[in-house]
């Protein structure tokens, strides 16, 4: 006991003595609150992997301003209560320099006041329903204004005039379909039905019968990720629904493993593994080399995380320090060319993005049908 105590005191003393010389190499701490448990637990590991690769690459090149980057990952339980704990611990206990994370909207909303108290930059890397505004918050992923129009435009060009919308009954599901409905109306289409099932609902029978009797030309769905998505798709295919089907909530990995049931589904994303660019190919190779058999397929949530770390690096270098005020100013001015192309969070703290419309093929791969360069996020935060 005594020996241990002495050793502790000694090491603390040593650390204090060394502090002067070690300061230059003190790591810059990046806090990553993420849903390792709960609803996001399926996707969260891929997000952490992407962040790990970015940090490793940057450190191998000498770090940022001569200092290495260090990740501090905290589980936010995918919800508000867990997020409050995770943000609090990261901001005030670990004293991280920045938060970069993909999270649920509930977790983001719960964490934002803590970020504002801690006055540090927060880069949000998940697509979301839009209009979350704070001087401390930057977003490098898409909002409905960027994701929905490519889908509707494509369906319209294919001859669809009437649409049926199906979703899970929660903020994101309703938000996406509300936007889809107004965009369809603006562009001269008609919505003949819009139905929701609770998030834990499993029986879509009645809705599918309504869809069939409505005679709609096309179907757009926005369910909660994972189970509801698969359940709805299975039951749709079982019921013999063959009209063009755009799914706003399915990720490439889920679509791939759904096999024959997913064939023909249209997806709209800012990242698809099939993007034909050097940056994407070298990113995929680096991920493969680093994680091998444990690799979680990179996706539209993990790639923005990777780029978020790089955007922070660019901003710190431009600001010349990790001073939050200077970094926050620089974040809106720097750009980084990554797997998704050149990302610049220059539009009211949001980023214009190249969106890809993909179609699931019979073998499970996703083919890029069309790309829409520099889609504007619209008026997200006019006051910023």
């Amino acid at each position: 006991m005594n020996v241990l105590m002495n050793a502790k005191i000694l090491s603390v003393l040593a650390a204090t003595l060394l502090a002067g010389t070690a300061q230059a190499a003190d790591p810059i701490k990046i806090g990553v609150p993420v849903g390792l448990s709960g609803a996001n637990s399926v996707v969260a590991p891929s997000v952490v992997q992407a962040a790990e690769l970015a940090v490793e690459e940057i450190n191998a090149e000498g770090g940022v301003l001569g200092r290495p980057l260090k990740l501090v990952v905290a589980d936010d339980g995918s919800g508000a209560v867990g997020a409050q704990k995770a943000f609090d611990a990261l901001v005030f206990r670990d004293e991280v320099d920045v938060l970069i994370s993909m999270e649920t909207s509930a977790a983001r909303n719960a964490g934002l006041p803590i970020v504002q108290r801690g006055r540090i930059p927060y880069i949000y890397t998940s697509f979301y329903e839009g209009r979350s505004c704070s001087p401390f918050l930057y977003v490098d992923a898409w909002v409905p204004e960027q994701q929905v129009p490519p889908v509707v435009d494509y369906l319209k060009a294919e001859g669809a005039k009437t649409y049926f919308l199906i979703g899970s009954d929660y903020a994101f599901g309703r938000g996406m379909l509300d936007f889809a409905e107004s965009y369809i109306k603006e562009t001269g289409g008609e919505v003949v039905g819009e139905e929701y099932l609770p998030m834990d609902g499993t029986d879509w029978t009645a809705i599918i019968s309504q869809l069939k009797s409505s005679g709609a030309d096309a179907l757009i769905t926005s369910t909660a990720g994972g189970a509801p998505n698969v359940t709805l798709t299975k039951q749709l295919r079982g019921a013999g629904v063959t009209i063009p089907y755009a799914n706003l909530a399915v990720d490439e990995g889920t679509a791939k493993s759904m096999g024959a049931d997913a064939e023909g589904i249209l997806i709209s994303a800012s990242y698809i593994t099939g993007i034909d660019s050097d940056e994407n190919k070298s990113f995929l190779k680096a991920m493969n080399d680093k994680f091998g058999g444990d690799l979680r397929t990179p996706n539209d949530l993990s790639v923005p995380q990777y780029e978020g770390v790089y955007l922070y690096k660019e901003a710190v270098e431009k600001a010349g320090s990790t001073d939050p005020r200077a970094v926050l100013k620089a974040l809106g001015e720097v750009s980084f060319t990554g797997p998704r192309g050149t990302i610049e969070m220059s539009k009211q703290h949001h980023a214009p993005l190249t969106m890809y419309l993909g179609q699931v093929q019979a073998d499970g791969s996703v083919k890029v049908v069309e790309s829409f360069p520099n889609v504007d996020p619209g008026e997200q935060c006019p006051d910023l």
Partner: protein, 277 residues
């Protein structure tokens, strides 16, 4: 026409899901809250069977056996000491359900798993293209129901089980091995739940929580139905039918709570539900 088909096939699916729960409740008077977990186990039997490259149909017997064997162990080590304390049994089985869910997560991961559809495509029914699998589910429900009626009415085991239901003390005095009857009944109940889990896979995703969504509905139906498979079928048709009608004409969100609300109402008016016993 499609409304009619929706009603009968939805009721059939509910019936399939609830039979395992009813079996155990009817004879043992124990509410097996691990029922959802057994459905999940069945679903994962389908995943494991197809992953090893076997026919997805083989998952049906596999799930029945796996569910049954796990049921025997559960009855012996967890449920048996709790027959006199049904409330504690609810807690114990609820906890067991959580443990099973976590074990499945450890083995298979949290991700959604995929199984091929047993019967893909649609069939033309009087001019309406209707899901072939849902029609198959209807057939499966009828077979299950009739099979069970035969088991209860036409076999020695059924006779003994009915004796236990009516008066367990008397049955024991008459020389029936009631402990064995309990074990066998529990095994059949969990085996049926596993079987139902496989039958659900073409309609739902397979994930560690897949059974939980079905638990409350089947619990309500069993409360209303009481002890017999006949009344369970009636309850499924009435409540399941109401769910489809409300979903179709009012709102699917209200449809989601129809079964629970109606069950509460029925039990308020007639505390024994549909059973006269």
């Amino acid at each position: 026409m499609s409304l009619f088909l929706d009603v009968v096939t939805s009721s059939a699916v509910l019936f399939i899901v609830a039979t395992g729960l009813l079996t155990i409740f009817g004879v043992l008077k124990i509410i097996n809250f691990a029922h959802g977990a057994w459905l999940t186990v069945g679903g994962y039997c389908a995943v494991a069977t197809t992953q090893t490259g076997l026919s997805p149909w083989l998952a049906l017997p596999v799930a029945f056996v796996v569910g049954g064997v796990l049921g025997i162990l559960t009855e012996r080590f967890i449920v048996r000491p709790l027959y006199a304390r049904p409330l504690d049994a609810i807690l114990a089985t609820w906890g067991l359900g959580i443990v099973i869910g976590q074990l499945i997560t450890l083995i298979f991961g949290r991700d959604v798993q995929f199984t091929p559809s047993l019967i893909p495509g649609t069939v033309d029914v009087f001019g309406t293209a209707y899901s072939a699998y849902r029609l198959f589910a209807l057939l499966a429900a009828v077979v299950l129901g009739l099979g069970f009626a035969f088991l209860m009415e036409g076999t020695r085991l059924g006779l003994s089980a009915r004796a236990v239901i009516m008066n367990e003390t008397l049955a024991r005095i008459l020389g029936l091995d009631t402990a064995k009857i309990r074990t066998v009944t529990f095994m059949i109940g969990t085996g049926l739940a596993g079987l139902a889990g496989v039958l659900l896979t073409p309609l739902t995703s397979v994930d560690p929580n897949m059974g939980v969504a079905w638990l409350v509905g089947s619990f309500m139906l069993v409360m209303v139905a009481g002890e017999s498979f006949g009344t369970l079928a009636v309850a499924c048709l009435l409540l399941g039918g109401a769910q489809v009608v409300v979903s179709t004409y009012v709102s699917p969100i209200l449809g989601g709570i129809t079964i629970a609300v109606l069950a509460a109402l029925i039990l308020r008016l007639s505390p024994k539900g549909f059973s006269r016993a």
